[in-house]
């Protein structure tokens, strides 16, 4: 569990990016931070792994104040995925994925084996292992980013608009696979987006931020759609029409999910030897 307790971030130039934030992020679930540009989502995310330090208040992971942990050590236990993937251009795909295991001093062979297994899990052709990031498509790079964040099996993953640089069709595919993966791994995920559709699709809980770094509403997607806390939230959802549209796509997703899980159940017998299941 990640807890924000009265957290404020004021940048040196005086900008208040986050203002008195109280937030409890459930373990093993996807919590989405959503809101207009500049409302402090990235800042909030980065206070968890101390890429940004809070000005006031405390951020705690499992009850432990993050300030009491040495930043590199803290970060090796928290996966991080960003919009441009941020892959290391000079390292091959498997070495990119094995970054944190290498930092943790794992045996090279073991780290590589783990990286190969992860490639299959995130839907990457193992033949890409020796390529460099520049030789991959945007969608593939994003998968590598996710695999890299998962490599040392951290309990927490921070994801900052991980799918927003790819086109809508690829994005939908990545989102579906991400949900499927999360069903298996059950990480504590904090997911930032400015896209309310993505928030509703992925989040178990959604935190809607308002410019000025204030939390406008924090609740489940259903609750958010049925009872927006105020005019700002309901405007952000796109008014009545927007809410109807979001409900509709929510139902569509639920149907699709039920269908794929049914067909996956059928195929499980043949799949059991596949790399996706092996090794874990």
């Amino acid at each position: 569990m990640i807890t924000f307790d009265g957290v404020t971030k004021r940048y040196p130039d005086g900008t208040v990016a986050v203002d008195g934030l109280d937030l409890e992020i459930q373990a093993g679930r996807i919590t989405v931070l959503v809101g207009p540009s500049g409302c402090g989502k990235t800042t909030t995310l980065r206070m968890i792994n101390r890429m940004v330090d809070a000005t006031d208040g405390t951020v705690a992971v499992d009850g432990k104040d993050v300030r009491d942990v040495d930043p590199p050590a803290l970060r090796r236990g928290i996966g991080y995925v960003i919009q441009q993937a941020g892959l290391f251009p000079h390292r091959t795909i498997v070495d990119n994925i094995a970054t944190v295991p290498y930092l943790l001093g794992w045996d090279k062979k073991k780290a590589r084996a783990e990286a190969h297994a992860l490639m299959a899990r995130v839907g990457l052709d193992p033949g890409l292992a020796k390529r460099f990031p520049a030789q991959l498509s945007g969608g593939q790079q994003q998968r590598v980013g996710v695999a890299r964040a998962l490599a040392a099996d951290p309990p927490i993953m921070l994801m900052d608009e991980p799918f927003s640089a790819v086109d809508p069709i690829v994005r939908a595919g990545l989102q579906d696979e991400f949900l499927r993966l999360q069903d298996e791994v059950e990480k504590t995920i904090v997911f930032v987006t400015h896209d309310i559709d993505e928030a509703v699709k992925l989040g178990h809980r959604i935190a809607v931020f308002q410019v000025g770094g204030r939390l406008a509403q924090y609740t489940t997607p259903d609750e958010l759609l049925s009872a927006p806390a105020d005019d700002f939230v309901s405007d952000f959802l796109g008014g009545d029409r927007g809410i109807r549209r979001l409900r509709f796509s929510q139902e569509l997703d639920a149907e699709q999910a039920a269908e794929t899980s049914r067909s996956r159940g059928d195929a499980l017998g043949q799949d059991a030897a596949g790399p996706a299941v092996a090794d874990r």
């Binding site: 441009q84 941020g86 030789q135 939908a172």
Partner: protein, 256 residues
């Protein structure tokens, strides 16, 4: 080498009947004058490169990290670069006499004025999102510098190194004016005696040396940065990968 074609011989005849090249002079002086001049030239041009690299790396890294330092450093190196080399040689003779040091020091300074900006620019070429993801993965500062920043900076640093090398190889000859100039001494020799053969030999060797050094550095760069070439082959290889997308359309979208 002896059988010179008539055409070449005709071409080689100067106004006063003296040929541009006397092959027998080359044969007679090869092992002594020419080879020792070449050796001296190599030492005089590569010592400053090595020294320059050893100084420019930490200095460039420091300038990239504390940007306030970069302005003054850049100003100093630019001024040094603007000074004519002969002036520096002459001034230094007063301190270090007629030794290699007198040539090596100014050339090291020139090397610095090329390499320090290269190191700073190279480090600046590391994309912000790459650096941030390195921080987020839990790299310590030193490890990030060595394993992420410097490798990515390498192509830019190597470009600077190649410029500095070629420029040093050409500048060493100026040292001949104070008697320490490697192949440049063949120039002074030829001019003094109004005898073109050493001049031609000197020019050809210097050009060859410069081209060869550049080529070798380019090869080293290629070997050290395989990912740079990968970028170029991206178009050729795309579409070969079998992506495990369930939605066929997604594959189209990704590789398009």
């Amino acid at each position: 080498m002896t059988p010179v074609s008539p055409a070449l011989a005709a071409l080689a005849i100067g106004d006063d009947g003296e040929p541009l090249i006397r092959w027998d002079w080359i044969r007679r002086n090869l092992s002594d004058d020419i080879l020792s001049a070449l050796k001296e030239h190599l030492i005089l041009s590569f010592t400053p490169i090595l020294l320059g690299l050893v100084i420019a790396l930490p200095l460039g890294i420091a300038c990239a990290r504390w940007r306030r330092l970069y302005g003054p450093v850049l100003a100093v190196t630019s001024v040094l670069y603007a000074l004519p080399s002969i002036a520096l040689f002459v001034v230094l003779v007063a301190f270090s006499g007629l030794t290699y040091t007198t040539v090596v020091v100014p050339l090291t300074l020139y090397t610095l004025s090329v390499l320090v900006p290269s190191v700073v620019d190279g480090l600046g070429s590391v994309p912000a999102h790459v650096r941030q993801s390195a921080v987020a993965m839990g790299f310590g500062e030193l490890r990030r510098l060595v394993q992420v920043d410097l490798p990515i900076a390498l192509p830019v640093v190597m470009a600077g190194l190649r410029v500095a090398t070629v420029s040093n190889i050409s500048l060493v000859s100026v040292g001949a004016l104070i008697g320490i100039g490697g192949l440049g001494e063949l120039f002074t020799d030829g001019l003094r005696r109004d005898f073109p053969t050493p001049l031609v030999v000197g020019i050809v060797l210097i050009i060859t040396l410069a081209l060869l050094s550049d080529l070798i550095l380019l090869l080293i760069q290629r070997l050290l940065t395989p990912w740079e070439r990968a970028r170029a082959t991206r178009r050729k290889n795309r579409g070969q990968s079998r992506d495990r997308d369930r939605v066929p359309a997604a594959r189209e979208g990704e590789t398009a």
